[in-house]
Amino acid sequence: MKQFQSSRRSFLALAAMTPFAVMATTACGTSGPGGAAGGGASMWFLSGEPNQTTIQKAVDAFVSSNPDNKISVTYFQNDAFKTKIKTAIGAGQAPTIVYGWGGGTLKTYAEAEQVEDLTSWFDANPELKNKFFPSSFGAATVNGKIYALPNQYIAPIVLFYNKELFEKAGAQPPKTWDDVMSLVKTFNDMGVAPFSLGGQSRWTSMMWLQYLLDRIGGPEVFKAIFEGKPNAWMDPAVIETGAKVQELVSADGFIKGFSSITADSKADQALLFTGKAAMMLHGSWTYGAMKKDGQNFVQDGKLGFVGFPTLPGGKGDPKNGVGNPAQYMSISAKATDEEKETAKKFFKDGIMTDTVIDAYINSGSVPIVNGIEDKLASSEDKDFLNFVYDLGKNAPHFQQSWDQALSPTAAEALLNNIDQLFLKSITPQQFAENMNATLGK
């Protein structure tokens, strides 16, 4: 019985410790290569091609022409990165260069003084500031100060479709919501899923709501939400948006099993180019990924793309776009002066060089750089690039992705409620009420 006596104690200890073990496991992901050893700057970036190669080449080129400045890059999957970077910043373990999407998350960092104010640095380097689309600075600005360098490319959400399947069905891409609903029937009858969707990632489902709300109620509805006006989520346009989503779900508009597909697995893109789904609403960045993974699907001209359809009686301009106006890089306030200088030098001379700009164009993206129209026009992907350029740059209103624009607390509540809305476990009315409770949080 002696053994039992002692084991009982250790079980109590175990019982007391297990919850912390969870806290520890959840938190221990933060102990990454925070400050890189040897005085060099560190950067975290998203894994996945074609951008991973582009960034690595940019860093390599910068380091080889600036041997005194070292930058080490670590790559993470998108969804994992979003949590990891937040936790790392909170723990004071952030990399020198903080990658992100601006907006509400950047605001949290800026208000906690975790990222450097770059306003005066941009004033001292006007040629850099003038290099980028002026519209790309909106999401980098908090309380009138610039906290991030806009970079990479403009990423509107695009309605992609499989031209081969449309030919087989004798159908045209949708222009109105009625077209959408009749195409849903056409493709379901053919045994093909109408829309591919990586619903487990949730921000993928959110893209539907963003476009629907814009087309139904115009950009003012989300503007009021963003500004935290009382009862902004209770706008009838929000409830109609929810109803339209559920109408599409009920009509089997999305691929079977959409709520267990993650965007990081790229299965949603594979469904489109393998002909298992006819259409997909997704970011313009998937063009490059499909070009790489899709076995000549893109090269053979089988990938079609259109703007989001209009809705009957809708107030939004059909030319409006949603998506990411750019990607952003900030500098951690916790970095050493040496690391900060390296990062600034990289921002100026390394991150958006002509080579990098060409690499983005070649992989089907529109860099946020002024005066690239000629380069776009001479690209083999010029149809898509011009389409994206038009949607991104010339749109009367371009709405930043909601989950990036809102505060992290409101964004998590939004994604959670969107998941339930698509699952039909809450009504559009409940969705609006739940979200209304998050205003100002």
Binding site: G90, Y109, S260
Partner: protein, 309 residues
Amino acid sequence: MSAATTHRAPSELSKNELTSQPKSALAWLTVPALFFFVVFAVIPLIGVLILSFARWDGIGAIGAAGMENWTSVLADPDLYNSLGLTFLIMIVSWLVQTPISLLLGVFTAGTQRYRAALAVLYFLPLLLSSAAVAIAYKALLDPNFGLAMGLGLPFLAQDWLGVPQLALGLIIFVIAWQFVPFHTLIYQGGVRQIPKSLYEAAQIDGAGTIKQFFHITLPQLKYTIITSSTLMVVGSLTYFDLIFVLTGGGPGNSTRILALDMYLRGFRANLMGPASVIAVVLVVIGLALALFLQRLGGKDKQGSQLEGM
């Protein structure tokens, strides 16, 4: 807590081989354990308790929140959903895993060579990390590109992780797949410690295999069952990685158990205060369950199962 052990060190101890040791020396032996317990359990517990009364987004400054976190979390229907799910998974997991591991444990305790060979196969899942198990199952169960399509078995092509009830059932299955080998190992050890003479005596009295199982094996495994159940029940409070990778708490909130709820609130929604409230709730439930299970072992803890042997 560990210090108490020495005070209550059963008189039995001094009667036996430790008679020569002075009691003070015995107390010193607990110091390393006590140190780690304080550093890794008591101090974080106090920290979490303090955070549960604080307003903190995980990034900026920490401010006092009074009772705000507690009132908001305790009034949140999501908490009760998570609590219910946690207990549901706990109970069903216990009901599924205990009989299987018990029977497998008894089976693998035999010394025949084929049993040893099968035992090696049963224990394979023990070698895999939860995240690896989850990623593998997620790929296999993908309704469009998974096992069902690969093997041409359309009935397998359910939306396993996309329908709330299926997802919950599947998680209980995967948890069992991963943890049954571990509990089998515990039972195997327990069965091997039962003296052969008990079975020999039973055989002489004419008891068959089934009677032997119910009248010798099961009662002799009483403490093994309590050990295994405690690990299972308290462990189920902390299932996190598996569910996080498989479903992320979805679809909807249908697999958002307490540990996951804590993580999502703390690290996704930047609400460290409410997340700490849930951590405290987890501690209280874990302690209560562990105490309750130990009480099930009976008041007479000095009682031996080998009386008269």
